[in-house]
Structures are given as structure tokens and as C-alpha cells.
């Protein structure tokens, strides 16, 4: 499995240094994704998901963003040590990104064919004509008629625009696809279509995907692996089965408690109390401690490291409570 590793992030720390404060957006995370697998990065708004994604392309706006520590290896090459020119070769060719809002992610004054062809032309050194032909093929692949390559983005609906954005991202057959909340701006039926399409293309093209979302439903549908992020740290990581059915972290439990359960419709939803901490002023110890129903004195003392869960090779959790072997989450005790 290790040879197939497409993305390997180690101990990444990203801060935004403004005049008023040092915003600690990402505080030492590790992420690995192998070929043909999809990792779902889940977390609230402001947990540092997008910052993580942007640092993979070394696109953090600087200033104020600074990558303080860590390494990002893409297919064995360290992104953070690359020259600007090499980076431009990697972006779009080896790693492609799908942005959140398809409405604004397309240039309104270029036809979609040109926009898809642009990246092909850039990375594969072919003529404009050939690139346009390839762009048409890409459109066909995402389920849009080839003849529409001559149209402008305003002539498309939201779901179709997102398909175009996906076509742009996949145009050069990247090894890694980063999808930053690709379905947030779409309605539910279109969401399903787009996710289905992405899943199918990942398998066809043998890519890896990092899917960033706050929607657990989307994760369940698409991802094999899940990492739960809170205040710039990964608090729980594992396969979808590990995290969805055998969750260990109180924050993960909180996320699931806030979702309606189809089997017990009458049950009251329990939101996580309190608010996400200010990333420029994180609490000492575990960042989740002030909101955690299980928090003890020990939680505020030190930051819990990500430890593997007993009896599992894939499941990791960062919680001090498991030092007590008898501890288990309320949700797990009640049975799912």
C-alpha cells in the first residue's frame, strides 16, 4: 500500500500572521492518500480544511499565510521545496482542484471549451485546435453534449457548471483531485449526480481524491477513508466504517448527534454546545475540551496525540480519555 501513496502530508503547520493576531489555521496534521482511494476531510467551518487543501498546491496567500512546518510529498516529490516553475507544472497536471462554487469558478468571458482546453494546452504542449477537441471529449465524459463547448458559462445551469469544473480538473488526468466542498452550492438531486460522476471517474482514471466537506452524508456516499478535523488538528481518522460505526472521539459523536436519524425520527437532535474556538486564541490542551461533555482536568493539560485504536490498524483517535481502558462513548454504549 505504501508504494501507492499519492499524497503524504506530515506534521503540516500553517499560520496566518496578521497585524492583530497569529491565526493558527492548521496545527500539525498528517494525511496519507493512496491511489484509487478517497479521503473525506470533515469538519466545521473554520477547522482549517480549505487551508490544508490550498497548501497541497502551495497556494496559501502569502502574506498573511505562512507554512510554518511540515512536508507535503506528492508522488514522492516535496511540494514545499519546489521552485515556482516546477509548481506550475504540478498544478493542474498532477494535482487538480475543484472549487466550492461553480457559479464563480468559471471565467464568464471564455467559452467552456476554451477553459477546459486551456489547461490541456498548457501541460501537454498541443495546439489550441487539438486542445479544443480534447475539451469536447472531456465534456462528453462528464455527460454534456460536445456541441456545448462553444457556449459561455452563463448558458449553463449550476449542476452543469460543476460538471464543467470537474472536466477542467480532470482534463490532464491528475493523480490527485482535491475537491473543496464540491457539492455545497448544489441542490440535493444534483449533488447525488455529481458525486456519482466523481466516484465513477476516480475509478476509471485511477486517481486519488481528497474530498473536503462538512456534510457527513456526502462522506458516507463517496469516501473510503475519513479524517475528522477540529481547530486545525485531526482528531479522528480511519476507514469510513471505523469512523461511522465505531467512532471514538467525542467530537465525532457530537457531529453524528446533530444529524437526524432515519430510524428514530422522534429522537431529539443534540447539537454540540458552545462554539468553535477562535483559532488565534486556542485553549490549552485539547481544543475540544471546553465543549466536550466527557472533559476532565487532564484534557486541558496537554494536547492529545493521534493514537491508534486498540485492535485496529486503520483507526486513530486523539483523545486523552482512552488512557482509561474502561472509557467509551455514550453512543457506543447504547448500541447504534
Amino acid at each position: 500500500m505504501a508504494e501507492d501513496l499519492v499524497l503524504d502530508i506530515k506534521d503540516l503547520v500553517v499560520h496566518y500572521e496578521t497585524e492583530d493576531a497569529d491565526v493558527c489555521a492548521v496545527n500539525g496534521i498528517d494525511i496519507q492518500i493512496s491511489k484509487k482511494r478517497t479521503l473525506g476531510l470533515v469538519g466545521e467551518t473554520g477547522a482549517g480544511k480549505t487551508t490544508t487543501a490550498l497548501s497541497i498546491l502551495n497556494l496559501i496567500p502569502n502574506p498573511p499565510g505562512v507554512i510554518k512546518n511540515g512536508s507535503i510529498h506528492l508522488d514522492g516529490k516535496d511540494i514545499l521545496k519546489m521552485s515556482q516553475e516546477d509548481l506550475q507544472k504540478v498544478r493542474g497536471n498532477d494535482v487538480a482542484m475543484i472549487f466550492q462554487d461553480p457559479m464563480t469558478a468559471l471565467n464568464p468571458v471564455m467559452t467552456v471549451g476554451e477553459q477546459i482546453g486551456e489547461s490541456i494546452m498548457l501541460h501537454q504542449n498541443i495546439s489550441k485546435q487539438e486542445a479544443f477537441e480534447k475539451a469536447k471529449e472531456m465534456l462528453k465524459m462528464v455527460g454534456i453534449a460536445e456541441s456545448r463547448a462553444y457556449d459561455y458559462p452563463h448558458q449553463f445551469s449550476g449542476g452543469m457548471k460543476q460538471r464543467v469544473v470537474i472536466a477542467i480538473a480532470l482534463a490532464c488526468s491528475p493523480q490527485l483531485l482535491i475537491a473543496d466542498e464540491p457539492t455545497t452550492a448544489l441542490d440535493v438531486t444534483i449533488q447525488a449526480q455529481v458525486l456519482e460522476l466523481m466516484k465513477q471517474l476516480i475509478q476509471e482514471k485511477e486517481m486519488a481524491m481528497l474530498l473536503i466537506t462538512h456534510d457527513l452524508g456526502v462522506v458516507a456516499e463517496v469516501c473510503e477513508d475519513v479524517a475528522v478535523m477540529y481547530a486545525g488538528r485531526i482528531v479522528e481518522k480511519g476507514t469510513a466504517d471505523d469512523v461511522f460505526n465505531h467512532m471514538r472521539h467525542p467530537y465525532t459523536e457530537g457531529l453524528f448527534d446533530s444529524l437526524p436519524n432515519l430510524k428514530q425520527r422522534g429522537e431529539q437532535l443534540v447539537p454540540i454546545r458552545g462554539l468553535m474556538p477562535d483559532p488565534s486564541d486556542l485553549p490549552p490542551g485539547c481544543s475540544f475540551a471546553p465543549r466536550c461533555p466527557y472533559a476532565t482536568e487532564a484534557c486541558t493539560k496537554s494536547i492529545p496525540p493521534l493514537k491508534s485504536v486498540e485492535g485496529s490498524k486503520t483507526h486513530f483517535v486523539a483523545c486523552t480519555a482512552y488512557e482509561n481502558p474502561d472509557f467509551s462513548l455514550r453512543r457506543n454504549e447504547n448500541g447504534k
Binding site: T104, A145, S157, M160
Partner: protein
């Protein structure tokens, strides 16, 4: 895919290139068509006037027997105080006005776009330095700047163009900067970075084309303003050197005869006014036609 039918049905959509599309919208706008026709006529006049008139004989050749004749069959626009046919002079004058107007605006456009896009895109210190410099130029009235530059370089058509280009450059720089600043934060710019495009390509291919409509409107408006400025400078005697029939110079010459031969002022004045009006009408029409959001 299953969705192909719903998303791919394009039987009824006719395919047009962007130019055709713009043209179709432009000719629906009466004002723009009127402006365009007048400008075409003017450009034609400017191009063919050397074929119709002999510069030495008709345009600057004096003929004292025919001085100050009112418009008649032989002299459609009358004659001036040296007996020169005003029609020939006004038509020939279109050459000067158009060359100066278009020339200085495009000179200003190139300089202004480079400065404005750098200021808008880079921001920070670069922005401050460029924009404060431009503000200084902007705070001095156009004509004053032009007077100073022309006095420094000497009076000639080219120097006049350079002088007027300064003020054009500052307005272009401001407009381009403002548009670039709104567009550089758009997601499609970010996504073109993620696609691996180099910065200059992003500016040229993604940012500037989106600033195009204010720039185009500004081009047409500024050509008008510049024609007026050029005429003003000629009126003051520091524009195009003397016997050349620049419209402002014609106005200036007619000033002394405004009581007895008012056509000498009215006709060149009308020529200036109609040209500027035509340019403004065309500019408005182009703005509407080029806006992709207005396309149905």
C-alpha cells in the same frame, strides 16, 4: 450517461462566434448604428480626403478674391478670411482630429493598462507608488499637463499626441486597477492558479478580458474628450502648427468673424460636437453589446 438527454439538448441553439454575437447586439441599438455610420463617414473622409482635395491648392492655398464667402453651391461651407474653402478644410481636419484622438488614446491605453494591472494585481507598495504618481498627474488639469509637455517638447502632431496620452493613461490606469482588484479575488482566478497558469497569463487571459467592457467604453469616451482637448490646444495656438486645418484651429480662426461670418465657428464646432457625440453613442452601444451578462 443518463443525463445526456436533459443536459445536452442543443438542437435549437444556433452557434455564433463572440464577434457575431456582439455585432448582432450592436446593430439593434439605433444610437450606436447612427454613431457608427457617422464615424465611418468620418474615417472615409479622413482616408480619402487627399484624393479629393489637393492639400497645397485647396486646403492651405489662399485665394483672396473669394474671402469670407457664405456657404453656397461652389463653397458648401463657405470660405475663411484667406478665401480657403471651409468644406475642404473641415474634411481634411478629420484626419488630424482622428489621428490625434485615436493615437493618444491607444498610447495611453497601453501605458495605463500596464500600470493599472500591476497596481491592481500586486497591491501593497507597488499599488501605492503607482497610484499616488497617477493621482498627482490626475490632480493637474489635462490641458495644463498637455501645455507643459507640448512647451517642453515643441509643437508638433506627435508631441501633442504624447501630451494628451498622459491624461488618458492616468484614467485608464485607474479604471483597469479598479476592475482588476474586483476580479483578481474571483474564484476562477484562483482556479487558474490551481491549474498551473503563470501569473502573466492569468492577467492577460483571465483578468483583463473581464475588465474589457469598462475599458472599451472608456476608449470611446476618451477619444471624444481627447479630440476636444486637442482642439482646445490648437485653439490656444499650441496644438497642430498653423496652416494645418485642425478643427480647433478652424474654430480659433473663426472667432474673429463670429459676428459677420458665424458659419466659420459653427461648422467646425459642429464637426467636433458630432464626432464626440457619435463616439459616445457607439461607446454606449458597445458596452451593452459586449456585456456577456446581458446576452440572452
Amino acid at each position: 450517461m443518463a443525463q445526456t438527454n436533459s443536459t445536452g439538448n442543443t438542437k435549437h441553439v444556433k452557434k455564433r462566434t463572440m464577434l457575431q454575437e456582439t455585432w448582432r447586439h450592436l446593430i439593434r441599438n439605433r444610437g450606436a448604428v447612427l454613431g457608427m455610420l457617422f464615424l465611418l463617414f468620418l474615417v472615409g473622409a479622413a482616408l480619402f480626403s487627399p484624393l479629393i482635395f489637393d492639400y497645397e491648392k485647396d486646403v492651405i492655398g489662399q485665394n483672396m478674391q473669394d474671402r469670407l464667402m457664405a456657404p453656397c453651391a461652389a463653397h458648401w461651407f463657405g470660405t475663411d478670411e484667406f478665401g480657403r474653402d471651409l468644406f475642404a478644410r473641415v474634411i481634411y481636419g478629420a484626419r488630424y482630429s482622428l489621428i490625434i484622438g485615436v493615437g493618444s488614446v491607444f498610447l495611453g491605453l497601453i501605458v495605463g493598462t500596464i500600470l493599472g494591472s500591476q497596481a491592481g494585481f500586486r497591491g501593497g507598495v507597488v499599488d501605492s507608488i503607482i497610484m499616488r504618481g497617477i493621482d498627482i498627474f490626475y490632480s493637474i488639469p489635462n490641458i495644463m499637463t498637455a501645455v507643459v509637455i507640448v512647451s517642453l517638447l515643441g509643437t508638433s502632431t506627435v508631441n501633442l499626441m504624447i501630451a494628451l496620452a498622459f491624461s488618458c493613461a492616468s484614467s485608464f490606469a485607474r479604471i483597469v486597477r479598479a476592475s482588476v482588484m474586483t476580479i483578481r479575488d474571483q474564484e476562477y482566478v484562483e482556479s487558474s492558479y490551481a491549474m498551473g497558469l503563470p501569473t502573466w497569463k492569468i492577467i492577460v487571459k483571465h483578468i483583463l478580458p473581464n475588465c474589457l467592457s469598462p475599458i472599451i467604453v472608456q476608449i470611446t469616451l476618451l477619444i471624444g474628450t481627447t479630440i476636444i482637448s486637442a482642439s482646445s490646444l490648437s485653439f490656444l495656438g499650441i496644438g497642430v502648427p498653423a496652416p494645418a486645418p485642425e478643427w480647433g484651429a478652424l474654430l480659433s480662426a473663426g472667432r474673429g468673424h463670429i459676428r459677420d461670418a458665424s458659419y466659420m465657428c459653427i461648422i467646425p464646432g459642429l464637426a467636433i460636437m458630432m464626432t464626440v457625440l457619435a463616439l459616445n453613442l457607439l461607446g454606449d452601444g458597445l458596452r451593452d453589446a459586449l456585456d456577456p451578462k446581458l446576452k440572452k
